[in-house]
Structures are given as C-alpha cells and as structure tokens.
C-alpha cells in the first residue's frame, strides 16, 4: 500500500466512495441543469455537488479532495458565480430592465428554455457548490488548540 492509502477511512468506505462519488456529482449537475423544468435548481443541485466533494474528503482525506478542488479554487468559483449572476442581471438592461429575461423563452419543459433561468441556476450552483465546500473546509481545518488564559 502506498502512503496515501493509509489516510482516510477503511477500504470498504473508499471503494464505495470511488464507485458513487461520480454519480453523486452527475446527479447534482442534472439537478442544476433541469432546475427550470422540474423541481430542484441552483441551490439544491449546488448542495449535492458540494456533498460529493465533502464525501471525497471524508473518505480519502484532505489531500485527495484538494487535488480535485483546492480551497483557493473554491473561493474563486464563489466570486465567479456571484459575478456571473450579477452580470446576467445587469445584461437585462439591454432590454431596458434590471433582471429582465431577455433571452427567448422557448418551449416549456425543454432543456434549452425559460431564457435566463438556467444560466442563473448555473451561477447559483457554482456559488453554493463551491461555497458550501469552502465553509466545510474552513470549519474542519481549523486547528483547535485552546490558548492558555493569561
């Protein structure tokens, strides 16, 4: 066994994680992309995406998870998502109104429909997915060494 394998949880957990984590991520993406046609959306899907990375971290330890999504990248994606969302809102001014749905709505229940709503969902999914992961990392990696009282 290599050195890396010793970190994290037991072999059973690692194997199951390896098999499921991709599916969880895909399911999260599915929820994000179909948020306008069925229940779900940016927040729900984003939480599932974040959970897939958290899952990876719990099973394999910090290093493996950070290789997929580092802390700096997570905070970058949060800001990027927020900027995207605001940009979509500001682009509404091209039609005269803040937050105007300026893209043709299309046929209901199709993947490409509902104008800006899927774009907003993607932006929100980025914010929530990366944000929850960043919060989790921040809470977990805080070293707790009680300071002695002077």
């Amino acid at each position: 066994m290599s050195k890396e394998d010793e970190k994290g949880m037991s072999l059973i957990v690692k194997t199951i994680t390896r098999l499921t984590v991709g599916l969880i991520l895909l399911y999260g993406l599915y929820i994000v992309f179909h948020g306008h046609g069925s229940p779900g959306g940016g927040f729900t899907g984003g939480v599932i995406i974040a959970l897939s990375f958290i899952h990876l971290m719990l099973a394999y330890g910090k290093e493996v998870a950070f290789r997929k999504l580092s802390e700096a990248a997570a905070s970058f994606f949060v800001s990027l998502g927020a900027i995207l969302f605001l940009a979509i809102a500001l682009l509404g001014f091209t039609g005269g109104y803040f937050f105007l749905n300026f893209i043709p709505k299309g046929e209901p229940f199709r993947l490409f429909s509902a104008g800006i709503i899927p774009l907003c969902d993607i932006a929100i999914g980025l914010i929530v997915g990366a944000g929850l992961f960043a919060i989790f990392v921040a809470l977990v990696s805080l070293k707790l060494e009680p300071e002695r009282k002077e």
Binding site: F43, F109, I135, E147, K149
Partner: protein
C-alpha cells in the same frame, strides 16, 4: 389551528433554549429551532385543504395548488439561515480556540 399553536410552542422552545442554556453550541441549536419554527409557520400559511404541490408539469392542469409563494420565500429564508448558522459555528469554534471553553458563564470578559 392547533398546528399554528404548535409552531408557536416550537418557537418558544427555541427562545427558551437561547436564553437558558449555557453551552454555546446549544444556543446555536436553539437559534436553529426557533428559525425552523418560523419557517414552518410561514409554509403553513400557504396551505389549503387537499391542495397538491405547486409543481407545474405538462400533463396536469393547474387547479387546487397550495400557495407556492411562501415556499419560495422560505427557501430563501433557509439559505439565509444556513449562512448565519455557518458564521455562528465558525465564531463558536474560534471562541473555543481562544477561551478553551463553550460555557458562556466563563466567557464574560466584556461587561459594564
């Protein structure tokens, strides 16, 4: 009517927990309980007898839905609650780091 009163009871339980408990983590749990009581109440204001869930789909006609607006609003309120709780937990952990305790009676350097 009784469900609304139960919501109120839950809210008061949360407030009791905030005011009476000494452990910081328990206070945060109290805040969450009170928050969910309010959210539950808000959802219930949109309820109607035998209404179906407000999901728009191609094969069902739109009749007798429950009010979807409170659900959308509560989703927003839950997200805000998530942010607040995350911040509170982070502060609580930092407090433990500095003071070495979760007991609020021992964390009282500011007063007067």
């Amino acid at each position: 009517m009784i469900v609304y009163l139960l919501c109120l009871v839950l809210f008061c339980l949360g407030l009791y927990c905030i005011l009476r408990k000494r452990n910081i983590i328990k206070i945060i749990v109290g805040v969450m309980i009170a928050e969910y009581a309010v959210n539950l109440f808000f959802i219930l204001t949109g309820y109607r007898m035998r209404g179906r869930s407000p999901i728009f789909s191609p094969d069902v006609d739109i009749t007798n839905m429950v009010d979807p607006l409170p659900q959308a609003l509560v989703l927003t309120a839950i997200v805000i609650g998530l942010a607040t709780t995350a911040l509170l937990v982070a502060i609580a952990m930092r407090i433990y780091e500095k003071y070495g305790t979760f007991d609020i009676t021992k964390i009282r350097e500011l007063r007067g």
